[in-house]
């Protein structure tokens, strides 16, 4: 190739864009050696590195209802009927925090004086958020650097599954972390810095969502209920140490795993109530505004001491050891290289012209590099998405063949005008087939079929990178080479 050809080729925006993207991708992937091992910035899923995942099913229902009774009465009835927490989600939906079948709920709603209109297994968005935060709190105590908690929500906003992914731990550790409960304790200040034990977390029978004590108050807090023994213990301690008569000197302190999470005096109202008798329903206020709400949300989690608001069962789980993860990683690299080489041989066999085969292979490799460069930011690589990557390599080379054959039609190298016409016809074929692949993969990319989502996203990205960036550049390059 002549020097000026080379320069004009590099000045072409399609070729320049391709080169810039390849370089940018390489920088983003940043392959380098650390302690004699090759490391990159690529994110790996849990089958290519040591780790475990647990997908948990939430045993609760979000249901639609109608009733002619006042809402409060209806919910109290339901509470009795079902013997579990019933939470108002919005004006048309309730959350039932125990597993029931639709028939069971149908009957219970009738008895409580209403009707069941819709039934869906799962929890509301706010409960799902609480569960997510609780799990994240537990995982943080483990100190794993790479952990994620994904809430899997359907189109109607109901969450039935939560998926926890923990890098660097095995299945046993993962199960322990997720199942672990903290030690919750309430102590009372006696004199100065001295405190005395009042009760443990097992005396708390239920914990509410963050709420405002009354409609007019701007102060947030969390209500919780004590067992009879708990209420007795807190009353005895308050009287014994004088919190009932002088609340401000005798704060109640809440500890989770021996760390203070809350401290406040009895309100004067509560102090006087307590002097007269046991109080089972307590309310811990945290302050006003967003800060108050945040504190209330955290306090709710602490009050539960790591217990989730609904029961969960493990729906699915998996783990991979470090050795096996590394083995899979190398196999993927090997499969990729081997695939590129075989494709190169087949292409050479067909065209027998290095000037065509080499650019084709270069384009194919650049496509993979750009794809990995983008994936580094948005997608973990797991086995399924690697399969997608290699499959895209296959369709990619197919389309380069279409471009080449279309341009070389009847064996002659065309004039620039004819060339453009043929190139656009080739791109027409490519666009049509790209559109079908994208449409075919779209449902998988939008749904949450665990590992298939990565596969679909990589495939769609690969098709887009091909159609928008590498194929147009290839058209330009092959034209310059052929018109020598």
């Amino acid at each position: 190739m002549k020097k000026e050809d080379m320069i004009s080729l590099l000045k072409d925006w399609r070729v320049a864009l391709l080169i810039i993207l390849v370089v940018a991708s390489l920088i983003a992937i940043y392959p380098h050696f650390e302690d004699g091992k090759l490391v990159t910035n690529l994110q790996y899923g849990l089958d290519l590195q040591k780790g475990a995942w647990l997908q948990m099913e939430l045993n609760a229902e979000v249901v639609g209802y109608d009733t002619s009774l006042p809402l409060d009465t209806f919910i109290t009835n339901l509470n009795k009927e079902l013997d579990t927490d019933v939470v108002v989600v919005d004006e048309n939906h309730l959350e039932i925090r125990k597993p029931f079948t639709q028939q069971e709920l149908d009957a219970a709603f009738m008895k409580a004086g209403g009707n069941l209109t819709t039934y869906k297994q799962g929890v509301s968005k706010s409960t799902a958020d609480t569960i997510k935060r609780t799990l994240e709190n537990k995982i943080n105590t483990l100190g794993t650097k790479d952990a994620r908690v994904n809430v899997i929500t359907d189109l109607s906003g109901v969450t039935r599954y939560i998926r926890v992914e923990l890098a660097g731990v095995d299945m046993n550790e993962a199960q322990e972390v997720v199942g672990k409960q903290g030690k919750f304790e309430i102590r009372i200040v006696t004199t100065g810095n001295e405190t005395e034990h009042v009760l443990y977390g097992d005396s708390i029978t239920s914990v509410g969502n963050p709420s405002q004590e009354s409609a007019s108050s701007k102060v947030w807090g969390v209500s919780f209920t004590l067992s009879e023994e708990g209420a007795q213990a807190i009353r005895d301690a308050s009287i014994k140490y004088g919190a009932v008569t002088d609340p401000t000197k005798h704060n109640l302190i809440m500890l989770l795993d021996n760390e203070q999470v809350y401290s406040a005096p009895l309100s004067s109202d509560l102090a006087s109530k307590m002097a007269q008798g046991e109080v089972r329903q307590l309310y811990a206020s945290t302050g006003s505004g967003t800060a108050g709400l945040n504190d209330a949300t955290n306090l709710e989690i602490h009050l539960r001491a790591g217990a989730l608001p609904v029961d969960v069962t493990v729906a699915g789980s998996g783990s991979v050891s470090a050795t096996l993860g590394d083995h899979f990683k190398w196999m993927c690299v090997l499969a990729g290289i081997f695939a590129i080489l075989t494709v190169g041989c087949v292409i050479y066999f067909r065209y027998r012209e290095p000037a065509i085969v080499l650019p084709m292979m270069a384009i194919n490799c650049s496509e993979i590099i750009i794809l990995l460069g983008i994936a580094r930011f948005i997608q973990q690589l797991d086995l399924a998405s690697i399969a997608g990557l290699i499959a895209v390599l296959g369709t990619g080379i197919d389309q380069l063949v279409i471009v080449t054959d279309e341009i070389l039609h009847e064996g002659k190298v065309p004039s620039p005008n004819l060339y453009l016409k043929r190139l656009s016809r080739a791109l027409g074929i490519i666009l049509a087939s790209a559109a079908t692949v994208v449409i075919a993969m779209l449902p998988l990319a939008l749904m949450d079929l665990s590992t298939l989502r990565g596969f679909a996203i990589i495939t769609i990205l690969g098709v887009l990178v091909g159609v928008l960036i590498t194929r147009p550049a290839y058209g330009k390059i092959i034209m310059t080479i052929l018109s020598r």
Binding site: S319, T323, M331, L334, L341, A384, A387, I390, D405, A440
Partner: protein, 284 residues
Amino acid sequence: MELFRYDVNKYSPTQMVIIPLILLIVSLAIVGMTMMSTGLPVKPGMDFSGGTAITIVTTDSKETLAAEFSAYPLTEIGEGINGAKFLKFSSMDDAQFRSLSALVSEKYPDAKIDQIGESFGKSLQEQAIFAVLISFIGMAIVIFLVFRNFIPSCAVVLSAFADMVMTAAAMNVIGIPLSLGTTAALLMLIGYSVDSDILLTMRVFKRQGKFEEKLGGAFHTGIIMTSTAIAAIAAMLVVTYLGQVEIIMQMSAVILIGLFFDIMNTWLTNAAILKWYVNRRGSR
């Protein structure tokens, strides 16, 4: 390339469709029968029916392993090369699974464990069926929009459908289970399948010249396309077979089978329909 000594112009449309038609009927029968017994077109694997799969690399014999895990619902021990063993268990409850995973991480710390609960598998299965249906319908809509011509569009959609059905039947015969991975592979087939069909149809309708020449040219390009794809996927299959990466191995096997059926369905079924369509239009 002269690997395939087949002259796409030699036979009449009726001669061309006879083999694919017979195969399609046989495949539909196989798929239908599987559907009646399992509710799915291909026998479901663990992902959809629930259960536990454990991969370990060990020199222990099958018998030792069977004894080791006799307290658990072990259904199958598969053997790969280099001492890889694939253990399959049917569904068990949380407590039993926990004790199994404790046993595995103690005895075989390098294991890979995957477990899917029955109801979760069921919900994955429903979503997967939904995804495949939506994908297929979406593909058909794109094809109709691109060609705006009823019969040629139908030919493309039909040959994609035939690819998938024949591949599903072949999976049943060979014993590749339907999993999340192989479902994705079947969807990927839609993409590969329409690639060569679109090329064929575009060449026939958007180029000037004699039908026979255009068909011959399209065949020339199409075969090289499919064979490069076959080469890439075959390479993936060989490496993952030797390296015992079960999921990619099954995915590439499915795509590979589908690509061979695609050669037939594009250059026999689809080409025959186009030939018949062009002849009929020409004779009027």
